[in-house]
Amino acid sequence: MTLNEMTAKEVSKKVINKAELFILDVRNESDFNDWKIEGENFEFLNIPYFDLLDGVEEIIDKIPANKEILVVCAKEGSSIMIAEMLSEAGLDVSYLKGGMKAWSEHLEPVKIGDLNNGGEIYQFVRLGKGCLSYMIISNGEAAVIDSTRMTDIYVDFADSIGAKITHVFDTHLHADHISGGRKIAESANATYWLPPKDATEVTFEYQPLEGGKVVTIGHTAINIHALYSPGHTIGSTSFVVDEKYLLSGDILFIDSIGRPDLAGLAEDWVGDLRETLYTRYRELSDELIVLPSHFMIIEELNEDGSVAKKLGELFVENHGLNIADETEFRELVTGNLPPQPNAYQEIRETNMGKITPDEEKQREMEIGPNRCAVR
């Protein structure tokens, strides 16, 4: 029967639309358990391709006849082989083009809303890794925040709407993904902003982003107010955009909060994290829409695929914002932490400019989920 190719973009649509899909993941068991495609109505079967070399007869009855079937592997090769075998056995199947590598790199732009004076704000959802980045556009100018290393996507997007990227920000020195910030800034001749306390070891020029600083995008002023909010890293900085949106970086997520240990100083920073979440953020308007830099679980996505919620609602619903006892809070964010992101030390060094791995190596370093939160 038929054998089709399915792109990461098509899979994204299914995640967002909560469509049904049966995924036969043919990677080895440990890779599958570590990280996989997530969807609310997705069903999974994990059988490594190397256990199917003699034939797929044994698994045919484990595959539902009435569902769309997608075969997935790391880079595509094995999934094509297994999909061909299934197709010869009479099934209609697809394989994921580019495999988990393509899934990890796919970004889905979602419009969050309009800004004053005709501006717009977009969220770029990296479904495969749970990373969120942003573009703010106003009067032909654009700012990019917490960009991934897939820099062409932002540059092309800005081009397509006729905007010039003039400012690039990172809310903090990332440990889970390689920032494309410096590359975008260099190619667009834009200003690259980093919090100086996170940038003490960087090997390149940047503009120090400090609390109280206001950067204007476009002639009619979309203001970005920097708000020093340490805790995930010592330099972590949030932004209030157009007095309406709170870009919370890796400090506050929808259903969790940032972990303070990825730069190695959990005990020192737990106090900062608590102060940011329980004092500094409390002073902000409840009406601000929180736009974080990550999501951890697919349930954090809104109907349109965006990840956003009012600060006031998070104060009620987010467990991490509702721990009255300081000792209990300290235990939550320093004890029983989940495993660190894959290659997080090397990723930090890359973002500091200390090492320059080639693209294949960068891809490999970023394998897996972001793991930046505690719940």
């Binding site: 080895n28 068991e29 440990s30 890779d31 490594p48 391709y49 190397f50 256990d51 070399l53 592997c73 790391a74 880079k75 090769g77 094995s78 082989m81 490999e364």
Partner: protein
């Protein structure tokens, strides 16, 4: 470096070929004999280990030399 009874050069091959070739080469060996495999596909590392285990073979040794991954698998 340990001795091997047969050598498989799978350099330059992408997944799934290193394992497909390894399986074929293994068929020509007797139980207890050792197959040496050279690959450049990084993904083969975890997969060859898992494949050996599920097939009842023993991954005796691994080495990395100038981007080439080397494996010695004893047939079960």
């Amino acid at each position: 470096m340990m001795n091997s009874d047969k050598m498989l050069d799978a350099k330059g091959l992408a997944c799934p070929m290193p394992i497909v070739r390894t399986k074929k080469a293994m068929n020509d060996l007797q139980s207890g004999q050792v197959l040496e495999i050279h690959v450049t596909d990084k993904g083969a590392k975890a997969d060859l280990a898992a494949w050996s285990k599920s097939g009842g073979h023993e991954l005796v040794e691994t080495a990395e030399e100038n981007e080439v991954l080397k494996f010695w698998i004893r047939k079960g």
